[in-house]
């Protein structure tokens, strides 16, 4: 088996034979990631209304369903309406600490069964239980870390109380967000990601960041577009004004 040292020394031998094809530079990075992070936040504190408008347009363009509510307390009503429309009864939700809302309290006992993601250290049994719930859930409710206006994309970081499959296994994904998550461009996302990874204090509790742009789709058969291949068939975004 090739060792790292062998591999790299072979590579360096090849690299030494050439100066390359032309003078080139990689992308210029923000010199101070924290500063950029704060700058973006400040900019978006002002520009969020335009970003929201753009987000809605792009989100709908990729077949997302956009909702707008005045207060966080209004979110369960929207979820209830979606459940009725889809004739669904099993809801999976991020843990209240991650979502900012306890759906089991507000929805449970109306013919809707709500499972919350655990947020303590899970053992094998807890994982099994959660996996079963996730496999059977019809609606998955999550928060949002960033909502990218340029492309109508929801960006979700995984972690404690915020499992990956909530936005993946159920047929319908519902994401809740407010103006603090809005970003305008992929470039800004890059800056935020740089800052996120550079600062140990901003440590993510999970290993995966998912950019979600519309429902799951494929065109593998005759280039005919179909939705809901393996992931959700529908994605909803609920914007909460009041926060």
């Amino acid at each position: 088996m090739t060792t790292r040292a062998e591999f790299l020394s072979g590579l360096r031998r090849e690299m030494a034979k050439t100066r390359g094809l032309f003078e080139a530079r990689t992308a210029e990075r923000p010199p101070d990631a924290d500063l950029v992070f704060e700058t973006v936040k400040r900019q978006m504190a002002e520009r969020w209304p335009q970003a929201l408008e753009r987000f809605q347009a792009e989100f709908e363009r990729v077949a997302g369903v956009f909702h707008r509510v005045a207060r966080l307390e209004d979110v369960p009503d929207v979820v209830r309406a979606i459940a009725r429309e889809k004739q669904a009864s099993r809801v999976l939700s991020w843990h209240p600490d991650a979502l900012g809302l306890d759906l089991r309290q507000s929805l449970g006992g109306e013919g809707l069964s709500v499972t919350l993601a655990p947020d303590d250290d899970p053992d094998g049994e807890a994982r099994r239980v959660h996996r079963e719930a996730a496999a059977e859930a019809e609606i998955g409710v999550t928060g949002t870390d960033w909502a990218l206006a340029e492309t109508g994309t929801l960006i979700l970081v995984s972690g404690r109380g915020r499992p990956r499959s909530t936005s993946l296994l159920p047929t319908t994904h519902v994401a809740v967000f407010d103006r603090h998550q809005l970003l305008e461009s992929l470039e800004q996302v890059g800056s935020m990601l740089e800052a996120l990874h550079a600062d140990p204090a901003r440590r993510m509790s999970g290993a995966v960041i998912n950019f979600i742009t519309g429902p799951s789709r494929t065109a593998d058969i005759e280039l005919t577009l179909t939705r809901g291949v393996h992931g959700p068939k529908g994605v909803h975004a609920i914007f909460v004004e009041g926060r």
């Binding site: 590579l11 094809l21 899970p122 990956r164 993946l168 995966v208 005759e222």
Partner: protein
Amino acid sequence: MSETQLRTPFPQRAHAALGDAHLQEALTIATTKFIGLRKESFAGYPAGEALRDRARAIKEATLQRLDQHLERLADNIERLGGHVHWAATGDEARDIILRLCRDRGVRMAVKSKSMATEEIDLNEALEAAGVKPVETDLGEYIIQLAHEKPSHIIAPAIHKTKGQVADLFSKELGGRFEADPEVLTAVARKELRQKFLEADMGITGANFAVAETGTIVLVTNEGNGRMVTSLPRIHVAVMGMEKVIPTMTDLMIFLSILARSATGQKLSSYTTLVRGPRQPGEVEGPEELHLILMDNGRMRQVAGTLREALYCLRCGACLNVCPVYRQIGGHAYGYTYPGPIGILLTAMLEGTGAVKDLAHASSLCGACKDVCPVRIDIPRMLVELREQVDREKIAPWGERMLFGLARRAMASSALFRLGARLGRLAQRPFVRNGRLQGLPFFFGQWTRTRDLPPVAARTFSERWKDLERP
């Protein structure tokens, strides 16, 4: 492609493809649609052109420090609790995976679409070792059921009509399914959902790996990439060594043009950034993450003629616009990677001898270079491959003789003029209605389907005397 199939000469494979009416129809529909989607996407994205230039520069700059970036990537992944393996060859990469399967008791592995794993024939090796590989990308699932190889870099089953897919599902899965993409997609969703939940291992490729953060990036649409990296207990990613990029800022530049080039989308449905195995506190995610960095012929090109081909993002845009690919489809090329970039990658992976015919499977029209998101000069490298074929005397002697004659005629105007006179004489029996038809020898390759103008009764030089002024 099987050994027997490869022994069929390329022109014969091309001939078979041209005679396959279903394939011709499927190719026209698919490539035309892809072309339109990409064009529309870039037409509405004026920033795109400059971003392509930047993306190309990032690829070149990364190659100039490739060793440092790979080291950084490996250090970061290991710090996060992942494992990094270094595979000089495809054989090694396969062996690493098989060993992992053996040591960890893996019986079933779900796969997200990965051309790197196609390149090393991983599925056959897994099956031989008693591990069941399950392709989960719809296109890959289809061709796995059909025992075929992918015919396009991003749409593996594009050569099949929906009727053919329905028949295939009905035969292999039992039941009778309508030739309706919605119905067929739902069938695949149901069949594969259980597999995701039961698999011991998830195997993916990687579109990029960010050195600075130790992140593996997957660009997908179906959601299977996410399933495969979250549900099984082990995640193995196989990645060509040239896919590493330095930072998150660099990543955004590629993301802004990759999906547009491939399918005309601004972003694919899912872009997944995987940073090590699951963290404490996560209720889901693999216990183990393995990244296999693969050479398999790439390292040699760092200082080779095909260096630029290492920029490739595997978007498939060049296939869609290639007049040859559009006529013969992916299988006729005979190797893992088809189309314009495929010829270069085949030379990279299998050596110059493998492309002695394929290097000429191009009219050098340049459409590929035009649409490549990182502006790879494919035609130039095809010509250089032709030069290598000539230098290594792989070209047939008849051809070399003919070009030798041509060279002499071009070097001497007297010979050139003689050639014209001889042509005028020799062509007489073949001139009909002022055109040449039915010519013998290799000229017949032209006149079988096209007329040729005869050598003019008076060449331009001969007519110049009348045009000359004192």
